[in-house]
């Protein structure tokens, strides 16, 4: 039988598979066995008919490696080495056997065949996660708050697609190249990939799904607005029907609650520039915004003639008439502690 590319590939694949199964042997012994193995397999393959794989004559690489292992004298080594051989190696062998049974049961050959077939898919997944993580860190967090102008849908889509294409390509290239690297570097690449997978899972399971998929405004850092998604402003009244103004809202953790959009109000006279332009103030919060305390409510003052307070059912008191006057003293002073509910004397 003459050497053909197919034969050489078969020999190389068989040798690599045997090498994997001898990975636990001391390096000098393993190297000695493997250095001459390729020549030996070439001698053996000379007896094979063209197209017949080596495994047809020699059995599976795993069985060959097991038989080979029994012919070598391995020094006893220290406690760790003996523990590895007595416990870890048998456990690993059993896991390999179970994996092979699993793969063969599905009609896919050995588990190594399945692993080889799944490699490109893993490379694509790894690139996809790297792309999404990078994109998320750059544009999906509060870091982008200061650049609202670039947060258009077109930019978001283009940057995401670009990141996916780039990182998937890089991951595929890394995967192909790392096949020829030494075992140490291949393990490093695998560990890094698994860490990436963990990072992707932790990030997207907790943050991305909430922020992106459920379309919660990313730039806001309030603890939750789920119950107030429909609300555009907050009007708080005393039991006497008096509108409370200049108030901050906090949740039970002392985090500011930011509901509505301060820039959506139309108002007159509050903006120092309103008189100069003869236009009603628009697009700026009338009472300012402090990142520590959140918005001052109400964001927009109600019309004077509107009645904002709904009449409580069965209430004995008369209908209150909220006024547009604002109090100049904040009801409470925000702090890290839970805010107290304002009371009416």
């Amino acid at each position: 039988m003459t050497d053909t590319p197919q034969t050489n590939t078969d020999i190389m694949d068989y040798r690599l598979a045997v090498e994997r199964h001898l990975a636990d042997l001391p390096a000098p012994i393993r190297e000695d066995l493997l250095n001459g193995l390729e020549e030996h397999l070439a001698e053996v393959s000379a007896d094979l008919e063209p197209g017949v794989p080596l495994s047809h004559l020699l059995g599976s690489p795993e069985a060959y490696a097991r038989e080979l292992r029994e012919t070598v004298e391995v020094p006893k080594g220290g406690v760790a080495e003996r523990f590895r051989r007595a416990v870890l190696v048998p456990v690993t062998d059993r896991l390999k056997s179970a994996s092979n049974r699993f793969a063969r049961g599905a009609g896919l050959g050995d588990f190594d065949d399945l692993r080889k077939a799944l490699k490109p898919a893993w490379w694509v997944l790894r690139g996809l996660i790297a792309a999404m993580l990078t994109w998320y860190l750059m544009f999906g967090t509060g870091a982008a708050v200061t650049y609202p102008v670039i947060r258009t849908e077109l930019f978001i889509a283009a940057s995401l697609i670009g990141a996916v294409l780039l990182f998937v390509w890089l991951s595929l290239r890394l995967g192909v190249r790392s096949q020829n690297w030494s075992r140490k570097y291949r393990v490093l690449v695998t560990v890094a990939g698994l860490y990436l997978l963990y990072g992707g899972w932790a990030t997207f399971a907790s943050s991305f799904i909430d922020d992106a998929l459920f379309d919660t405004p990313i730039t806001m850092t309030q603890s939750t607005t789920t119950d107030f998604d429909h609300a555009q402003d907050i009007y708080a009244y005393t039991e006497d029907g008096e509108l409370l103004t200049d108030i901050y809202l906090f949740d039970e953790d002392g985090e500011p609650l930011m509901i509505g959009d301060p820039s959506s109000c139309e108002y007159e006279g509050t903006s120092p520039f309103a008189e100069e332009t003869d236009l009603p103030g628009q697009g700026s919060p009338p009472y300012g915004y402090d990142s520590r305390y959140g918005y001052l409510y109400p964001l927009c003052m109600p019309d004077d003639d509107s009645t904002m307070l709904p009449e409580p059912e069965g209430a004995a008191t008369s209908s209150p008439s909220p006024s547009g006057e604002s109090s100049t003293t904040p009801v409470e002073t925000p702090s890290g502690e839970s805010p107290t509910i304002p009371t009416q004397d």
Partner: protein
């Protein structure tokens, strides 16, 4: 099932004798890996696999009992031939002496057991 057990037991027995078997085959004529396996099969050692012979050859080579040289082949790739070294011949003689000693004692043991059993039955 019984045949499988016998085969496994023979295989285990042969593993302890791999050195002497391989050295003995090479004592009369040098050979390359796969050819040595054929010689052993022809001698009746069907249980021995290629990996066992190849691994034993490499171990004996590391120990200095075998040397190697490469020869071109008309029908395929170059072949690596194994030959006994002088330490290898001495080692083979020691192993042979040890085997004959053990073998004689085993035979005697079995004969004794058979004799005792026969006496007990009669």
């Amino acid at each position: 099932m019984h045949g499988t057990v016998l085969s496994v037991d023979r295989s285990q027995l042969l593993k302890g004798l791999l050195d002497i078997i391989v050295l003995r085959v090479l004592e009369t004529e040098d050979g390359y890996g796969y050819e040595i396996l054929h010689r052993l099969r022809a001698a009746g050692f069907d249980e021995l696999g290629d990996a066992s012979v190849y691994g034993t050859l490499r171990r004996l080579y590391r120990a200095g009992y075998l040397s190697t040289y490469v020869q071109p082949s008309e029908s395929g790739p170059h072949r690596k031939y194994y030959a006994l070294t002088e330490p290898g011949r001495k080692y083979l003689h020691q192993m042979r002496d040890a085997w004959e000693d053990v073998s004689a004692k085993m035979r005697a043991l079995f004969d004794t057991v058979n004799g005792t059993a026969e006496k007990g039955q009669s």
